[in-house]
Structure formats: C-alpha cells, structure tokens
C-alpha cells in the first residue's frame, strides 16, 4: 500500500489503482463536504429568515 513497506516496488498497477481510488474518494469527500457546509449555511440562513422549524 505504502512505499515505505520493505517489499515495495513501483509499477503501473499502483498508478491505475490509486488513481481510480482517490478519484472516487475525493468526489465522495468533496460532495459530502459540500452538502454539509451548504446544510449548515442553509440552516443558519433559514434561522435568520425567521423560520422556526425546518418543516416546509
């Protein structure tokens, strides 16, 4: 997994695998971060707007 393992040897497989993995992970991470931040923002905004409850 990590280059500091004693048997480590670089090859194509690592680039393909890690490329795909981190691509997917970053989309998920960024997406969730966006949702949470946006939700916090929306919550604060709706409170400022005077709505007492989240129920539409």
């Amino acid at each position: 997994m990590f280059p500091f393992s004693f048997e480590w040897v670089w090859d194509m497989g690592h680039i393909v695998f890690h490329g795909g993995l981190w691509y997917a992970l970053s989309i998920l991470g960024m997406g969730m971060t966006y949702c949470i931040i946006k939700a916090v923002y929306d919550t604060v905004k709706s409170k400022d707007g005077g709505h007492g409850s989240g129920h539409h």
Binding site: M1, S5, A24, I36, K38, A39, T43, H55
Partner: protein
C-alpha cells in the same frame, strides 16, 4: 405509540404486531450472532471448510448478495445518469436493498477471515494486483456511497426532518445525488468486475480461469453485466415480496414494467455473452490446459456437479427468464414476471455458487478426487444472520421512512392526516 414516527399518509400495523415480527427475526439474528461468536472465539474450525474448500458458503453468499445488490447501482445509473425518471419511485427501495446486501457482504467477509483483528491489513499492506484488494477497496467505498444514498432517506423520517440541519442536509444530498450515483456506478463496475476476476484470474484452476482483456478476464465483465441484469430483478423480487407481506401495492406497474424490460434486455445480452464465454472456455481455454468440458461435470460423487448444473444456469435460469422479461405480454402478467425475476435471481446465485464451489471441487491433479463439502450449522447460521438483519432493517425502514413515494397515492387512507 410510535405514530409520530410513521410517515404521513400511510397506515402501518400495530406496534404490538410489529414487535412480534421484529422479535421473531431478532431471534434468528441472535442465533446467527451466537454462531458468529463461536467462530470468533474458537476459530474457523467451526466451519466445514477444508484446505480444498478455502472458499465456501460464505464467499458464495458474498458474491451472491453483491450481485443481487447490484440493483442499487444500476437503478441509480438509469435514474440519475440515463434519465429514466419513472424509476425515482423505486430508487429508494433499490438503495435500501443494496445497503442491506452490501452491509451483509462486509459482515460475512469479516467473519470469513482467519484473523479478523488484522483484517485491515488488506488496506494497509494492499497488493494492488489482487482482485480481492480491488474488491475490498471498491466494496468499502461503494458501501460508503450506499450509506450516502441511504442517509437522506433516514433524514426524511417525520421527526428527524424537523431538525433544520437534517432537513437541509437531506435536501442538499438529494440535489447532488447524480454525482454520488455516478461514482457508485464507477465503483460498482470495478468491484462487481473484480469479483468476477477473483476466479477468472486463477490460472491454476481451469474450471474458473478465463482469458480476457488486458488484466481483466472475461468473467470481470460478465459479473458486472450479470449484476446489472439480475440486481434489478432482485429489486423487483423483493418489492413483490414486500407487497405480498404488507398486502399493499407499493409501486405502480409502469415503474416495475420499465425496470423489468431493462432487466430483460440486460439479461438477454448477458446470456449471449455468457454462452459465447462458455463455448470459448469449453472449446479453447480449458482444452489448452488439458481439460475437456466433461472433465468438469463428470465422475463426481452423487453427480452433485453434473452437466445439469450448466443447463440449469444458462437455459433455465438465464435464457428462459430473459425471454419472459422481453415479451411485454408475458412480463405484464404478475405471476410470469415473478417467476422470471425469481429464475434470474436463482441464475445469478447458481453462477456464483458454481464459480466458487465447483471451481474448488473439481480436481486439477489427476490423482486427486473430487472434494465434497457441506456447510456446518455455524456457517448456515451466520449466512442466515444477514437475512434476518435485512428483514429487520427493511421492516424498520418501511415503517418509519417514506421508502415508497407512491404508497399514499396507491393506498389512500380514509380521513388520512
């Protein structure tokens, strides 16, 4: 008593009746937990696996539930990416079934390894050339995706949704769900495929080995394809069972029909590919390794692995349901549809069984016999455990979450709130 938690506009059974239902399934679950504890404390000697059957019931169950859980990614793909909008009425349930399947798969995997306390070495010391590594990573990631897809559903519970933050979070997640669904489809493509690769790359096992494209054996693509074909069938199958259990129509016929039609096309194309693969394997790949097709299907004890198994998988559980699903007049008959999806589901399970179990049962060394295996009760209990868990989670979700958007419309309550 729990009426405040029950979604608006639907009717649910009494809390007492529900409690009995949960208790029955809870007891089965506890039986499984007892077996699980035995296995954790005493080791895998509690199973009937042997050195000939390093993979057995559990790995089959894993492969099968992941294939059947494929309904989630494929319905998501159709709904969010391809734009089959009608499917929004069944996507929630597809996601829930997928979540149950994938969490079960992870649980079974955690039981299956000999050293569960250091199972995380698969991530830490990952060998990226191993199909299993890819499975582990993609499975975990995709389980994350399913969790992300399931969270908004939970947040839509009547009480939770009153919390403004949860309300907004659910709303925002719904908003970019297409992104998650696309990622999910990407991950699914690889882990479904890698599960196919698990046996396909074993060039020491002529029964399982397949040639392929670059590093991917043909089974890689066949597994993804079959998951996309049989997963939606499983979604329809479970939806029908839920409808029978609740005595209500929950999803409109046009939605089911669309999904069934797509599944039919997928199944039909999968069968074409599978038949070509089987023929190529029987005519070229296996003979090049010194085996004829019938070597794999004869001389085994009790003919447990006779040629009937290949006929059952391809014709009875493959071609037949594909035809049934493709003929509009047939698939619109509810009984025929149910039979077709059941056969398709059995076909996927049979395919996974054969690829895992028969692959190890068939002798490779000419002086070794066929190996036999029958699971121990501990294996059976721990395999039924996730089923009980799935029933409980689906029951809870159905009771408290707005899983079926069309339910209030299809089942209007007199004087409803």
């Amino acid at each position: 008593m729990d009426s405040a938690l029950i979604p608006n506009g639907v009717k649910r059974c009494s809390i007492g009746q529900f409690a009995v239902w949960i208790a029955i399934n809870g007891a089965i679950l506890l039986w499984g937990v007892w077996a699980l504890l035995l296995i954790y404390f005493k080791g895998l000697n509690q199973t009937n696996m042997t050195n000939a059957y390093g993979f057995a019931l559990w790995i089959w169950a894993d492969l099968a539930v992941i294939a059947l859980g494929g309904g989630a990614f494929f319905t998501g793909l159709l709904r969010y990416i391809i734009g089959k909008d009608e499917l929004k009425h069944i996507i929630n349930y597809a996601v829930l079934i997928g979540f149950v399947c994938y969490s079960s798969a992870l649980l079974i995997l955690a039981i299956d390894v000999g050293q569960p306390l250091r199972a995380w070495f698969i991530f830490w010391h990952a060998n990226v050339h191993s199909m299993l590594t890819e499975v582990a990573f993609c499975l975990t990631c995709y389980f994350g995706v399913l969790t992300i897809e399931y969270i908004p559903l939970i947040l839509e519970n009547r009480q939770l949704n009153r919390v403004p933050f949860f309300h907004h979070l659910a709303h925002n997640m719904h908003h970019i769900m297409a992104l998650f669904a696309a990622t999910g489809a990407f991950l699914s493509f690889f882990h479904q495929g890698s599960l196919g690769g698990v046996t396909g790359v074993l060039y020491g096992r002529p029964f399982g080995f397949r040639t392929g494209l670059l590093v991917w054996p043909w089974t890689f693509f066949l597994y993804t394809w079959s998951a996309a074909a049989c997963g939606p069938c499983f979604t329809i199958f479970i939806t029908r069972i839920t409808e029978m259990a609740t005595g209500k129509k929950l999803v409109k016929d046009n939605v089911i029909d669309l999904l069934a039609k797509i599944a039919g096309w997928m199944l039909a194309t999968y069968m074409v590919a599978k038949i070509i693969d089987t023929w190529y394997w029987a005519a070229v790949t296996a003979p090049s390794m010194g085996f004829t097709l019938m070597d794999f299907y004869s001389n085994n004890p009790g003919s447990a692995y006779g040629i009937w198994i290949l006929i059952a998988e391809i014709l009875v559980c493959g071609v037949l349901p594909a035809v049934l699903l493709l003929m509009p007049s047939l698939r619109r008959n509810p009984s025929v549809l149910f039979a077709a999806v059941t056969l398709a589901v059995l076909g996927a399970c049979l395919n996974r069984w054969v690829m895992v179990l028969q692959m190890q049962a068939a002798p490779v060394l000419s002086f070794e016999p066929w190996f036999t295996y029958f699971p121990s009760w501990q294996e059976v209990a721990t395999t039924i455990l996730p089923v009980a868990y799935g029933v409980i989670l689906i029951s809870l979700s159905y009771r408290y979450l707005p899983i079926f958007p069309q339910e209030p419309e299809l089942n209007p309550i007199e004087g409803g709130k």
